[in-house]
Amino acid sequence: MRFGVVRFYGSNCDRDCYHVVSRVLHRPVRYVAHDESSLDDVDCVILPGGFSYGDYLRAGAMAARTRIMAAVEEFAAAGNPVIGICNGFQVLCEAGLLPGALMVNDGLRFICRPSLVRVEDNETPFTSGLQPGAVMSLPIAHQWGNYRPPPDGFRGRIVLRYSADDGSVTPESNPNGSWQNVAAIANARGNVLGMMPHPERSSESILGGEDGLGFFSSVVSWWEGGTSYV
């Protein structure tokens, strides 16, 4: 299984995602430039975090209009797995591949710290190896992570919610004011996932935790298990 990590101008978690795939998962991976137009040689696309185009105009807005995103749309429409992490999640929303929008955090400030999230849905390629209800520790680092559903109703899947350590979803465990404590969502089909927490930052024990690795290993098992389409 071959991964593609998309690099927009200003992406800054691209190298971190590449590292996890190549050095921790030991799977082939290549960088995909913002102006490429084909994803024929990859099986899973990662839109990494960072500040694509400096977050100027609106986080993710300009990246969503690059040439590669047309290819990502096509790739996703065919049922292939796409994960957007942090800024990548913002890009997916701006591109219309995921419903809703990410607004500025309730406290208006950038927040960087560990967060606890509860697994709500393990019927997506990226969560297929996780247990529903399991509580994981994943780091967050964002200023615009306050998820809002579309005004005409949410027609996707809630995949992760910020929770307390016992799994209860409380206002106190919500770091940014997200609707329904949403930390990650997927499209209705499940193959396109957007998450604010950074799984690539907690995929090695030396960094303090390996809970994030489950997202990458899930998609590998899912794909290598032969289910190439959702």
Binding site: Y9, C13, F51, E200
Partner: protein, 731 residues
């Protein structure tokens, strides 16, 4: 004729300096030339008041690959990897416009690091402000933190450490010192050299505008008189997105092998980058201002040469291979253009098309700058009889809570929480978890530790000892995470050097820092001097900030400060404090501003550090935390608060002379470690081998911190109460 128009004053020079320029050139300089001299001979660029003193610092060591004089210092950590690091101030711009001042400070120090061919992997910030209750101070503090957060987060380099101190002495002159650390393969190490006749001088990155003209000469090299807001046009505006592209493009261009040298454009812009690179290589250079791409029309050659527009780099490329370099920048959507050539000879020549506008000996701008032996008034350090107990009937528990809630000691989480400290996935020990940050070095088993430390208060009482203490504390912090201290960069923040009292302090601080670095084997690889931190004649505390890096051979063997397991034994490496001189306790609790600053016992620092490192490397140590601000009581409290579940400890200091001094005194060479009961003996044996004082003073457990001595209990406070005081202190 110039007698009628003191032209030198317009560019911040003195009449005497002007005369030297005249005689060097053999003619009067024209306006452009004078402007270029004004910048290069400014205090900020020329170090004219500090050079001879800095020359006394130890700068050599077996691991030093690059000492002072380059964009950054570099040390060898083995396996073909080197660490580039430097600290710089952005004090004056931050006083004028805190958000952009701090942000562009980050931008500038990053460029110093990737100019060496190193990928920036970490930032640290050492900040000083006035009383946080003052609304203007809160504005400055908030602006600086937001500016660092905005620029650092966007550019994708984690902010892993630093310090913040609040003191009335910095009310009008906040300090923003920024340190950056980068990693580079040894054979990729690049220098700021304009070598090789005919090689191309390429300007890359942002276009050149009118921003920041005279930033170095008129903003950074003078004290403030009136409202610093009037100086706002001299502050530049940052663009972290462009900086990110510039990092990637420069590192990629270096891989191609066509690049001879790289230099950043910071203070003094093109003038400085051209003259410094030519000067280091012993070359001449010509550039044509017509070839400089600009962001606004109608700029004069003077403005082009003096602009401090951010996010620009100077690249010297092999003749005939310019296109390879330009192509890389094009791919990163950045402008780049050949603006001149290296040439033989000794002149920096500036053209506008065919017309030669300036012709100055390169060395005259750089090494020919004035070198002043300014008179200094030897400070009289405050060294009274060491105060013991202060004759007070003190409730030690209440004193501890008061210290923890003090803005200087309270939890830094509200600040660090705004910085991305994890991007890059190298951060093994995040800010606040230990005495120093630890980063792994991918592709090896190694780790690097880094810290900044400064103690302006101690330096105000006793400049020499205060400087020694700052180095010793940084050394101890690096040892406390298990790393071997390697080298030092420093930022020396002072008032006006033309004031004898300030110059006297400066000389003493440099002497103390040099002594400490020699005795602790941590050579100085570079740094920065910031004078004129002064407003209406009131100058800041002498404030040397030490940035230190250390090496862990096995990064998985490191220590953090929080208690780990109930039942672990608490061991004090080093002796008991015997007095309260220059302590947070005397200042905050007793309200006494007095010395003596404890002298540094280098032998003790070395053995305590060594035993701590050996214990950590052998896997004997569960936690380690040095004893510094607030003394033993504060260190124990921090280890309790940083434990996963608020674990307390019961400590018995045994027979001690004065309990309050033992609890709150700040004599150095002490590290608290915890070990599981089975291995304490092994650590004590190690200590015995090195004749390091060490004893078990207590045990981790329970939900309270209890400290006694023999039969008397001096302090018993629930960890929850400690935490709530500590966490609220900065709100």
């Amino acid at each position: 004729m110039y007698d009628d128009h003191p032209v030198w004053e317009d560019v911040g020079l003195t009449r005497e300096e002007y005369e030297v320029i005249r005689s060097d050139l053999g003619r009067a300089p024209n306006g452009l030339e004078l402007g270029m001299y004004g910048l290069m001979w400014s205090e900020h660029c020329s170090y004219k008041s500090s050079r001879r003193h800095l020359a006394t610092l130890p700068t050599e060591g077996p691991r030093v690959l690059q000492g002072p004089g380059e964009n950054a210092g570099v040390v060898d950590i083995g396996e073909d990897v080197a660490v580039a690091f430097r600290i710089e101030s952005h004090n004056h711009p931050s006083a004028v416009e805190p958000f952009q001042g701090a942000a562009t400070g980050i931008g500038g120090i990053l460029r110093d690091i990737f100019a060496m061919g190193a990928r920036p992997v970490a930032l640290l910030d050492s900040l000083r402000f006035g009383d946080p209750k003052d609304p203007r101070v809160r504005y400055l503090f908030g602006g600086v933190v937001s500016g660092i957060s905005w620029y650092g987060n966007c550019v994708g380099v984690p902010t892993v450490g630093g310090e913040v101190v609040f003191d009335e002495a910095y009310a009008d002159n906040p300090l923003v010192n920024v340190m950056c650390i980068g990693l580079v393969e040894k054979d990729r190490l690049t220098r700021g050299l304009a070598a090789g006749e005919g090689n191309a001088v390429i300007l890359a990155g942002a276009s050149t505008g009118r921003d920041g003209i005279h930033g170095a000469s008129l903003l950074a090299s003078r004290e403030f008189d009136e409202d610093p807001g009037d100086m706002r046009p001299a502050v530049q505006v940052g663009d972290p997105f462009r900086e990110k592209l510039l990092i990637e493009a420069c590192l990629e261009a270096l891989e191609g092998g066509a690049v001879v040298g790289v230099n950043d454009l910071g203070a003094a812009g093109l003038t400085s980058a051209c003259s410094e690179t030519a000067s280091r290589a012993g070359s001449g250079m010509w550039i044509d201002v017509d070839l400089v791409f600009r962001r606004e029309e109608g700029m004069t050659p003077y403005e082009v040469m003096l602009s401090e527009s951010q996010e620009r780099m100077l690249i010297v490329a092999e003749a005939g291979r310019e296109e390879e370099v330009l192509e890389v920048f094009g791919r990163w959507n950045l402008d780049a253009a050949v603006i001149g050539r290296v040439e033989d000879g000794e002149l920096l020549r500036v053209f506008c098309g065919e017309e030669e506008l300036a012709s100055i000996p390169v060395m005259g701008l750089t090494e020919g700058a004035p070198d002043y032996d300014r008179p200094g008034l030897a400070p009289r350090p405050s060294r009274p009889e060491p105060p013991v107990g202060l004759g007070m009937d003190v409730d030690a528990g209440r004193a501890l809570l008061e210290l923890l809630a003090h803005p200087d000691m309270a939890s830094r989480a509200p600040i660090f929480g705004q910085y991305d400290h994890m991007v890059g996935t190298n951060t093994v020990v995040p800010p606040g978890a230990a005495d120093a940050a630890v980063l792994r070095v991918k592709g090896t088993d190694k780790g690097i530790a880094c810290v900044t430390d400064g103690n302006g208060y101690a330096c105000s009482l006793d400049p020499r000892r205060g400087a020694e203490l700052s180095v010793a504390e940084a050394y101890r912090n690096i040892c406390s995470v298990g790393a071997l201290p390697l080298a030092v960069t420093n930022c020396l923040n002072f008032g006006n050097p033309e004031v004898e009292e300030v110059m006297g302090e400066f000389v003493e601080v440099v002497a103390g820092m040099g002594e400490a670095c020699r005795r602790l084997d941590t050579p100085v690889t570079g740094g920065n001097v910031s004078f004129y931190n002064e407003t209406r004649g009131k100058h800041i505390h002498p404030t040397p900030v030490i940035g230190m890096v250390g090496l862990l051979e096995d990064v998985s063997r490191h220590a953090t400060a929080g208690f780990k397991e109930e039942g672990d034994e608490v061991i004090l490496l080093g002796g008991d404090a015997t007095h309260l001189g220059a302590s947070a306790f005397s200042r905050v609790v007793a309200g006494v501003d007095n010395g003596p600053v404890p002298p540094v016992d280098y032998g003790a620092e070395r053995v305590v550090g060594s035993v701590c490192r050996r214990g950590i490397a052998a896997g004997l140590v569960s936690s380690a935390h040095d004893v510094s601000g607030g003394g033993l009581a504060v260190s124990l409290a921090e280890s309790a608060m940083l434990s996963p579940v608020g674990m307390g400890a019961t400590v018995d200091l045994g027979s001690i002379h004065d309990p309050i001094s033992a609890l709150f005194g700040e004599e150095g060479a002490r590290i608290l470690v915890t070990c599981s009961p089975g291995v304490s003996e092994s650590l004590l044996e190690m200590a015995g081998e090195e004749e390091c004082p060490a004893r078990i003073i207590g045990r981790v457990g329970g939900s309270r911190l209890e400290i006694g001595a023999g039969d008397s209990l001096h302090l018993s406070v629930p960890v929850d109460s400690l935490s709530s005081a500590w966490e609220r202190g900065l709100e």
